[in-house]
């Protein structure tokens, strides 16, 4: 996760999560001296969802799946994660609110010393449920809205989904639960982006998290509606401009980008263009500390049947299953050759990623998109939108050490 507002406007509000791609929801400081030692864990509680979104990475369904982790198994998993030192669990799905033990699990996580946060479509959140989750210890709710009313409802496969999500946002805000927008940018909804931010800001939301499409689950089926690299660049530039405009008017919104670390290089270029060399260097240094794409390192996923994945998007390959081994044993297993190489990917990247001067702050972008596009997990990310001249010329400050 990359915070535009922190990097360009120097606003890292409490709870900013630059280091966590799943969780804009952490209280850890955004920029730290130390690299994060344990991953944020996304737990897809269920495959079931009350909506049917076109871009769902979890390929959620209207039915539950056989073999979903039970409440007692979930608690043992949380014990396991707590003893391994996991800082944050992001309860996700499917739609996590279709499980009637969500509050119990959130409470159990909080009592175990794990920060519980939620990713939801918001449509099942009543004022009572929002208060119940707050009382259980929920720290943050990210609610997905993917366009203005008509476009969102079309995308989400249900009329009224936009209004229901808005009611959910209001319920969380009224219950004093920190709440943010999750917006997956595609060709279809890119034009709505600014209007959605304006509308939700009026509602009291001040945190906006923009996801690039990754090619897992149904996201793979709609890769043809992904923005082209040129359109992506334009969309990210618009977000940067919008963030600065808001801040210039005294509105301290937080804007964050997830899922495409070419954004890191772009932000350095953007800072250089608008603020000069020193600002660009500062942005670069922050992003270097952040460590680039977090797959297999700072982010992990446990799916509803207990399979452990290197990111929540990469559901087609699992490292192991928490019913067979503890999460920590699976995550620390250095005999897994793929995990090992993904972690050491700087040595294995090929093509333009191998040569790129932003490799240290990007780390090759999405290995899953590379696999989908090139049948090779170490090939270049097809959605990198930086120009060759940008990635070929090392930033002059990079090696200066000052």
């Amino acid at each position: 996760m990359i915070s535009i507002s922190k990097l360009l406007c120097d606003v890292g509000a409490e709870g900013d999560g630059l280091r966590y791609d799943a969780a804009s929801e952490t209280s850890k400081p955004q920029i730290t001296e130390e690299k994060q030692r344990r991953p944020v864990v996304v737990w897809n509680l269920t495959k079931q969802c009350n909506l049917y979104c076109a871009h769902c990475y979890a390929a959620a369904d209207t039915e539950t799946a056989d073999g979903e982790l039970s409440t007692s198994e979930g608690k043992r998993l949380l014990d396991d994660l707590a003893s391994y030192g996991i800082p944050v669990v992001l309860f996700s799905g499917g739609e996590p609110l279709v499980r009637d033990d969500l509050t119990e699990l959130v409470e159990y996580a909080a009592e175990s010393g794990i920060r519980p946060v939620l990713s939801t479509n918001g449509t099942l959140v009543t004022p009572e449920k929002a208060r119940e989750l707050r009382d259980a210890g929920l720290q943050y709710a990210g609610i997905s809205v993917d366009g203005l009313r008509g476009r969102n409802d079309d995308f989400r496969g249900k009329d009224g989904a936009f209004d229901a999500a808005l009611r959910g946002i209001r319920a969380f805000l009224d219950a004093d639960v920190k709440t943010g927008l999750r917006y997956t940018i595609t060709e279809r909804n890119a034009p709505d982006l600014r209007d959605v931010v304006d509308l939700l800001y009026e509602e009291g939301v001040n945190r906006f998290c923009f996801y690039h499409l990754d090619y897992g689950g149904r996201g793979a089926d709609i890769s043809n509606v992904d923005l082209t690299p040129g359109e992506k660049r334009k969309a990210v530039r618009r977000l940067c401009d919008m963030t600065r405009e808001y801040h210039d008017r005294g509105h301290d919104i937080e804007t964050l980008l997830v899922g495409n670390y070419a954004d890191a290089g772009f932000l350095v270029e953007y800072a250089r263009e608008h603020e000069g060399r020193d600002a660009a260097k500062r942005v670069y240094d922050y992003l270097e500390q952040n460590g680039g794409d977090p797959t297999g390192e700072r982010i992990a996923d446990v799916d509803y049947q207990g399979n452990v994945h290197m990111t929540q998007f990469w559901q087609g390959y699992s490292l192991g299953n928490v019913r067979d081994r503890s999460f920590g044993d699976i995550w620390d297993d250095q005999t897994n050759p793929l995990l090992d190489r993904v972690r050491a990917r700087d040595d294995y990247l090929t093509g333009r990623c191998a040569e790129c001067c932003y490799r240290d702050i990007c780390r090759g972008g999405s290995r899953l998109r590379a696999l989908s596009a090139h049948d090779d997990p170490f090939a270049p990310d097809p959605q990198c939108y930086l120009h060759d001249d940008e990635i070929g010329i090392a930033p002059s400050f990079e090696a200066s050490g000052d």
Partner: protein, 98 residues
């Protein structure tokens, strides 16, 4: 003297909702051991092999695939609700090592 491990038979719950989960085993070189390298979700053996090739083709000489429900797992890890303790009569003598 080592303590006998208390193992459990991990239950047979499905590992994928729609397709099949395949356990992957790879051998790096001709004389190296076969090792477990995670699981792949795919609708058929052919597609599982295709996926495994993309993920491991860069080095493995052997790739073995086994449907996840064809594996019986015995583990000291007992997260699974269905985990059944397994006892085997070993003649009463503790195992020992030098």
């Amino acid at each position: 003297m080592v303590e006998k491990p208390q193992r459990f038979r991990v239950g047979d719950k499905p590992r994928d909702a729609v397709e099949t989960e395949w356990e992957v085993f790879v051998r790096d070189e001709d004389d190296s051991p076969l090792r477990h390298a995670g699981g792949i979700t795919a609708p058929s053996l052919e597609i599982a092999y295709e996926q495994a090739t993309k993920l491991f083709a860069w080095y493995a000489v052997d790739i073995w695939l086994c449907p996840a429900d064809g594996v019986a797992r015995f583990s000291t890890h007992d997260l699974d609700d269905d985990a059944e303790p397994v006892r085997i009569e070993t003649g009463g003598e503790d195992r020992s090592f030098e």
